[in-house]
Amino acid sequence: MSGIHAVEIRSFTKKFGDFTAVDDLNLDIYEGEIFGLLGPNGSGKTTTLLTIATIYKPTSGDIYVYGHSVTREDYAVRKITGIAFQDPKALWVDKPYDLLMWHAKVVGYSGEEARKVVREVMETLGLWEHRNKYFYQLSGGTRKKVELAKVLIQKPRLAILDEPTAQVDVLAKHALWNIIEGLKKEGTTVIIATNDMFEAERVCERIAIIYKGRLRALGTISELKDMIPGGDVVEIQVNNDKLPNNIVERLNEYGRVEFKNRVLRVYLEKGEEKVVDIVDLLKKNNITVSRLMIKEPTLDDVFTYLTGASLRGEG
């Protein structure tokens, strides 16, 4: 990660009528890093990405891409930015090869160069055999690959990928993650929006957690996990819909407690030593434990700890 700013987001707010999609967001993304925007659907990730790509304009504040303002120098920003959308953008009668050939020419390739790069990228993504099918004949995963192919063809300085592996099968996900890391090796700065915590941990170097349009946390994965005090999470599935207040008060002595959808989470130190006492406490109060787990915090735990919501639940 270099110290050069690829993207500077300054007091960025975006409203649609009375609804505030993003509220006073401030972020720096450095050249050459793979940066993740993590949050459930509707958290403001896509709005932020579309504004960086100059498709939206900020209601207030500004975003700079390699020093170019998205409000005043949108064309300069678009020349160095490529985006793969969450929903693949094509008409149902489009064919992948024709679409990508047109895209290649628009982003600056001449005829022969375009044919070469389109074939290379389609082969890399396993799309070549689908090149002459209609878009409506392609699976969701294959459509996502066509969307990613646009960015790979363009080779932009800044690649924006909005949920690049949603609807993609597990094997293909790993291949796509390797390709995304390949982009970084070629010097491209990558921003990924995702609500898949595993994807975020696997690919991203730094992550911003966004919830209800606001930045809740920013840092490397280990920095984010360190935000959970103690470092352990005891997760207990119980058969009760509610926990009595006195139990919650007793559990608070061990660490921070959350209870949602019959899952009790206690964030604490040395969980393996305290879990027996916790289970005893529950049993004495006639609360049946159906599942128990002591684990290192995941990004989902971090997200839950910071927002009280769940990536899995809302994503």
Partner: protein, 265 residues
Amino acid sequence: MFFLSDLRDLIHIIEWDLERLKTQKVFVAMRLSWFVIQVFIFARAISLIVRQLTGINYYEFYLLGVYVSILYSTSISRGYVIADEFDDGIVEYHLSLPIKRNIFVLGRILGCSLAALLFTLPMMLIVLIAVNALNLTGLLVSMIMAYIFSIGVVGLVILVVVNVKSTDATDILFGTIDAILVRLSSIFYPLPIIQAIGIAPYYYAALFNPLTSIADFIRLLFIPEFTLYTVSPYALVLYILGFSIGMIVLAMEHYTKKLEAGGWK
């Protein structure tokens, strides 16, 4: 400033619209069927009736009107593709491309209208053969003017689409506009006849309707002996040019203003 790269971008955008035409086989088949029925059944039938009632040869007048009518409706539907692209989200993809916004809109206007012109070219040839008026100079001049007219119509469509921002509302609006513009023009009724009816608003609406201008201009080119004209060809050309330039400017300005802020949502 206009650069060589802008010209290249413009060509690519035009290419987008020409490619789209190739994928719309049903559209092509439907319009062609409508045209063939108009030329070979209705044109003959209505000309027969008019000749028997008035002694006027209406066949040539009507056929060239049919051509303008299909040029107009094809231009509307080509421009309307942009509204469909809003629904499909393609507009977001287009707005993300490394192309200046003004160049993009200009490219769409030129591309959609060129697609409309190319689509209607065989119909123009059929009409000219049918009225026995095929000549290269006339064909070239009429095609240039038809293209300029079509540019204005596509500009009008873009203007409406980006302001209405709803395909349902746009459908209804264009149904109304289509009904008004085609009927209040000299596409099927000569201006002096409309004037003779004595309803001033009807006459003046038809007189200042760009469909009247293009229809009468094309008729002047191919059937100059026809006497039912009231406006000079120079005025017709100027009016069509003014209409198209005005629509280009308005469409470019509104597209940039309305859509850059995510305004189609």
